[in-house]
Amino acid sequence: MNEVFDIKRLGKLMQYEVINYIPHYFKSLLIFASVIAAVWILSLTIEEPIMPGGRDELVKVLFVLAITLSPFIVYKDMNNRKKGYIYAMIPASTLEKLLSMIVLCVVIVPLLAYAVLTATDLLLWLLSKVGIGTFLHMEFYNPFTSIKIVDDEYLLPHIYPVFDSIIYFVNLVAYTIMFNTIFRKNKVFKTILFNISMTFAFVILTAVIVNITTPEFWENLLSPFVEWLDEKTDVELFGYVMTTVRCLTVLMSMAFLYITYFRIKKVNY
């Protein structure tokens, strides 16, 4: 028996997780869908139709929330001291458990969330075409590639926004998956608190660095790059920045998943 990876075993695990975890997540999705319904009822009450653009934004926000919170909902009990043993004792390897987690949170859950949210919107549109404007056709959701170079003829190859969306999206999910395995209780609250703390720490650190350094220090530090930067066009620089950001994002995602792997492997119950 291959103790590290077996494709059939991964399939069994995914089947188990879809049967056992997704119905619970589906119920949570209905809460998100009810927000759309609540807005629809509100629009009927105030006799102010909600424009397709507004609905599109609402669905997008709910979609991002639904997928960001998904690891906390789907794998809520995986490290719970009382209930988590069921997950730990599933006869699958740590790698298979991690891969199944990624597939569920990156592919299955977003597809389900997209389907439920847009179906809700469609249903409400069919019920009251007047109330909420025209049918919403949600375009490919791409929240991360909004950087544009103004007054520049440079166009990103079509594949890039899709590729960027995928890597940023995986990064976001890997981040929440990691925190879901690190914290045992009040996971969402602790994750938010951690992010706020890190932001504060970063701001304070930046302020301290700015305070203790002089402009000359930065000039000396950056002088070797100035000439090189001057030779580059905005488009080229944008390309470098984007490539660096992409590489860092991929590296960060790998680090998050690496931590998650060891958390799954070593977590005590």
Binding site: M1, K82, K83, Y85, M89, P91, T94, N268
Partner: protein, 266 residues
């Protein structure tokens, strides 16, 4: 076979198990007894790989439980004392988990659930503690794993269910299976056990087969306190005592009395 060598474990500085060595052989039903806090549940968790050993070694058919290898996990099934169950139906849970266990017997599951009067379509969350225990016991037995660890399995079961539980475990036993039952309700399981292990923090106080215990000790209930008793307790029906077996006649073991006797000697 489960082999434990010099096993120690502590929760944030508090020793629970200290240098324990023992073995569990196949084809036996072990009764794991011990006072509260000696580490029976901890030992179960260590055997399942849910906790990592601090010192010492556990070997289960060549596997180290803490590695949580799929080959090992498919050999073992553990039911904790306070089993809560996933938020799905018994049917969904059993069908999902069964694909990992090669010896799973679906007919047996239906038959066991039927005997326990549990509807397979009900969700674990809609069941009482006793019903949840009966459901998970049925699933555990139907998976036909080589090792079955039951922590206080009769807690929450009503009287008919306890009798049904004994019947099921007796029926499920075979030469390739090891069942370890940790319990304080010794009367519920005393007819099932063929090996008794009494655990203490520092050592294993007793590790003997029922046959050996019966050969060594005699258990009696008398109206007068026996002069040669090793240990004696006064009860409503007279004096329950343990004495050395000098007649080679086997008497029925009073596990509670044996436990108290062994603990009084430490």
């Amino acid at each position: 076979m489960i082999e434990i060598k010099n096993l120690s474990f502590a929760y944030s500085g508090t020793d629970v198990l200290d240098n324990i060595s023992t073995a569990f052989e196949q084809g036996r039903v072990y009764g794991l007894l011990g006072a509260n806090g000696v580490g029976k549940s901890t030992l179960f968790k260590l055997l399942c790989g849910l906790l990592t050993t601090k010192r010492g070694k556990i070997d289960i058919d060549g596997y180290s439980p803490a590695d949580r290898h799929p080959g090992f996990l498919s050999k073992i099934f553990y039911i904790p004392e306070d089993f809560e169950g996933p938020a799905v139906s018994i049917k969904n849970y059993a069908s999902g988990i069964s694909s990992f266990y090669s010896k799973y017997d679906e007919n047996l599951l239906h038959s066991l659930l039927n005997d326990f009067d549990i509807d397979i379509n009900r969700k674990f969350t809609s069941l009482s503690l006793g019903q949840r225990k009966r459901a998970i016991l049925s699933i555990a037995l139907a998976m036909n794993t080589e090792y079955l660890l039951l922590d206080e399995p009769t807690n929450g079961l009503d009287i008919p269910a306890k009798a049904e539980f004994r019947k099921m475990v007796a029926k499920a036993m075979d030469d390739n299976r090891t069942i370890i039952i940790s319990t304080h309700q010794v009367k519920d399981v005393e007819n099932l056990l063929d090996h008794i292990m009494i655990l203490d923090k520092r050592c294993v106080l007793l590790d003997s087969s029922v046959a050996d215990i019966q050969q060594q000790y005699s258990f009696d209930v008398t109206m007068q306190r026996p002069a040669d008793a090793l240990y004696c307790e006064e009860g409503l029906g007279g004096y329950c005592s343990i004495s050395n077996n000098t007649t080679d006649e086997e008497s029925r073991i009073n596990i509670e009395l044996l436990f108290n006797y062994i603990n009084s000697k430490k």
